[in-house]
């Protein structure tokens, strides 16, 4: 169970070239190809608060700046804050004691009282927000530059109709080497800061910043007192609230809790979803989950003899057919490097002639070092369809397969154990991780109802499987 104990003994080669355990692979039923987290397109599906489980459609989450309306995070340790209530004793003689609420962190004991935020009279509280102190200035700047840019744009639009634009090359001819700078300037998004031709009457006014000669000096206290680290915020605390960046603990301010998201995954080639979670954040189910382990034979390592450089050892693999259809698997050797190159060349030509940017993501170069070779069984192994009832039936052990007893050493329902031998390369050092691979050919029956014609279609598929059972052991004592 490679995916339960996290070690990747068996990895499959995804269409994009990554090697991944079957548990994280997807199978696009439209393209009939393996897809993994690297080569699918990730999309934000829904936003939710991990504390109160409130979930919002994206548009609304956007308005709320991805933050929960009711929960707050501790600005000190980022744990969620809880609402605490106190009853204030009545000293002034009025009848009912009033309830007061404040926020407290059960983890680090920080409370809103620490920073002088007044208690609220309602539990949901209208907790004060810290506004950006420069908002007014910044809004005026924003409006100002927007208008300037619009002017420049309309002018440029006019120009492009009247005069042919000079290319950058003409600069080069004129100025020789130093033209590089001219080119750079021409291409720079040079700010419309010059603003000479702008009609000032419509321009929103701004107050440009005025530079000052005097700068506040370092307070004398720095030379005389040891800094109290319990009162000075860390960078993480500062950066958690960029606009505020409080430097002292007593100016921290609680922020609404940041949302989490659920993601859906889409095949880049056919744009169908390969994974789409249910909307409800409490649910761990999926509307669509085209996981590879429902669609292709799974390979597990059952057991193997100790591995030694240059010596063959037997290995037994368990093959499992998860589908509702009988399949037959056949092992073949991995293509050699030359064969891969030829195939890649052919594919490249094909892609270029067909559609250029169908799959455009660049594939990172992979560095797998094969350190062993398998002596693969030559006969095909038939795997019956999965039958949940048979799982619990210990009596039916009869089957009518004409298995080679040297290859198929065990069988039960949709599973079969296959034995063959592997030989780690003779030039590897003891303690080297043995990695070998093979191609697995299998038949896949596509039952997707939307396909025409409506009968299930049988396709021959191939996947490359890489196994790393373990390390070679030391020199043979004999």
């Amino acid at each position: 169970m490679s995916y339960l104990i996290q070690r990747e003994f068996v990895r499959y080669e995804c269409t994009c070239g990554s090697l991944k355990p079957i548990s994280v692979l997807h199978f696009c039923r439209h393209c009939l190809k393996l897809r993994c987290g690297y080569c699918v397109c990730h999309e934000v599906d829904s936003h939710y608060c991990s504390n109160c489980m409130e979930h919002l459609p994206s548009a609304e989450a956007k308005i709320k700046k991805n933050r929960c309306g009711s929960c707050f995070d501790c600005p000190n340790c980022f744990h969620t804050l809880s609402v605490r209530a106190t009853t204030r004793s009545v000293e002034d003689g009025s009848k009912t004691p009033s309830k007061h609420y404040y926020l407290a962190c059960f983890f680090c004991r920080w409370t809103t009282r620490d920073v002088g935020i007044p208690d609220q009279t309602t539990a949901t509280g209208s907790w004060p927000n810290k506004e950006n102190p420069y908002a007014e200035t910044l809004i005026s700047l924003l409006e100002h530059y927007k208008v300037i840019a619009m002017r420049e744009r309309s002018q440029k639009d006019k120009k492009t109709y009247s005069t042919p634009r000079r290319g950058y090359s003409s600069f080069t001819e004129k100025f020789g080497l130093s033209s590089m700078i001219a080119r750079k300037r021409a291409g720079l998004p040079s700010l419309p800061l010059g603003g000479k031709e702008v009609n000032l009457s419509n321009l929103p006014p701004i107050t440009p910043s005025v530079a000052e000669e005097e700068v506040e000096p370092l307070p004398e206290s720095y030379f005389a007192e040891e800094p109290d680290l319990t009162k000075i915020t860390s960078l993480v605390q500062r950066h958690a609230n960029p606009a505020l960046q409080a430097t002292t603990i007593n100016t921290l301010h609680p922020q609404h809790r940041h949302f989490y998201i659920k993601r859906s995954l889409r095949c880049r080639q056919c744009e169908h979803n390969v994974s789409k979670p249910e909307y409800n954040p409490g649910s761990i189910k999926f509307k669509i989950q085209l996981a590879a382990y429902y669609h292709m034979p799974e390979v597990r390592i059952m057991t193997f003899e100790p591995l030694q450089a240059g010596k063959p050892s037997d290995i037994i693999l368990k093959l499992i057919n998860p589908t509702q259809h009988l399949t037959s698997v056949q092992f073949t050797q991995l293509p050699t490097t030359e064969e891969i190159e030829v195939a890649e060349e052919r594919e490249k030509n094909m892609k270029e002639s067909l559609d250029r940017d169908l799959i455009s993501i660049p594939i990172p170069p992979r560095c797998v070092v094969i350190t062993g070779k398998a002596d693969l069984p030559s006969s095909a192994v038939v795997l019956p369809p999965r039958d949940d009832a048979a799982e619990y039936d210990d009596t039916v052990d009869t089957h009518s397969f004409q298995d080679d007893p040297n290859v198929v050493v065990w069988r039960k329902g949709n599973k079969a154990a296959v034995k063959f031998s592997i030989t780690p390369f003779s030039d590897i050092k003891p303690g080297t991780e043995v990695l070998f691979g093979f191609c697995l050919d299998y038949g896949y029956v596509n039952t997707m109802p939307i396909l025409e014609p409506r009968q299930p279609q049988r396709t021959e598929m191939q996947v490359k499987v890489y196994l790393s059972p373990g390390k070679t052991c030391g020199i043979d004592p004999k």
Binding site: M180, E216, P227, L235
Partner: protein
Amino acid sequence: MSIYEGLSADKLAVVLDLGARYTKFGFIGEFAPRCIIPSEIKCPSSGKIRYIYSYTDENDLYSLLVEFVHMLFFKHVLVTPKDRHVVIVESLLCPTLFRDTLAKVLYRHFEVASILFVPSHLVALCTLGVKTALVIDVGYEEVQIIPVYEGVPILKAWQAQPLAAKAIEARLRNNFINAYNNMKNAAGDCGDTDTFAEDVSELPDSVIEDIKVRGCFVTTMERSEMISKSEPVKEPPPLKYRIKGDKLILIPGICRETAFEVLFERDNDTNSIQDLVLKSILECGIDTRKQLAENLFLVGGTVMAPGFKSRFMREVKALLHSPEYCDRLPLNTVKLHNPPAKDNYTCWLGGAIFGATDMLQMRSLSREKYLSLNTVPDWSNLAHNELVISKLPT
């Protein structure tokens, strides 16, 4: 013609300032980034933390960026990157390999609709509403100075030196290890070794940074001169700092006071930060110099250290009146701008303002264009080369 024309309102463009140490990421038209996070990822296979800028080659950078940008979108701003417009705030001195790979990752892996590259020094001015300023970015790797005059960066006057957070932290680490070993030896002589049993030579970067941020300050010019001449000054008290939960280490006051000195020292060469400022001004036209000196603009996280700005101004003023410069640069006043933002995201903010204008549609490089050219065109990736060229002696 609407301001928002051409951009569907539900696909608000994002603004990215991917710094050597911290990345600022958020939406156009907003006045603070949604997040400021370390520019690093946890390597999925080895579990080790890796800085994005620690890449070994293009492929390595490509995979680091895929991982990192994915996290930015799906953990921090929570929007789908596909078909989104992106504004990248970058230094004019950004290595071509870095910008090209970032573009490739965004266009090809994340299929963004377009990218607008904006030079950080230039757009920072959008936060001030002025057209002329000498922009001094003190970040992590380098201090980078580029004057902007009437909205045009004066590229030939650029200055850059590795005098920023990285150098400060290295200085702090060194000074502290030396001081610590001295104390240890002294203590060893009188048999008290327990207090110094900790191995401090391998303190992680994050601890050194934390000591720098919470425990260090930029001292005054007067004290700095006295310290460098070994004149007696009253040392600030040491700082008790807790590591690994329960171990206390003592950070001498002198270490806390002198870590930032590395930026201002001018003993060996004249590459202190104040020298770079004046050199940059000198490289500009004579009629622009006064205006530039009266429009200094400090950006980057390092300038947020207590005492940094006042020390910086003192040093620049003092150097201006020194015999070295007083004839060549007969200026009397230097003035400093105060941005309406925290200094570590002013450049990002400039990008967020600039990107909210029609410039986004006018100057972006669309995905279609990129795919047909298969590169970020000339005019945007010459930045590096030409700057080197402009520095060549004539």
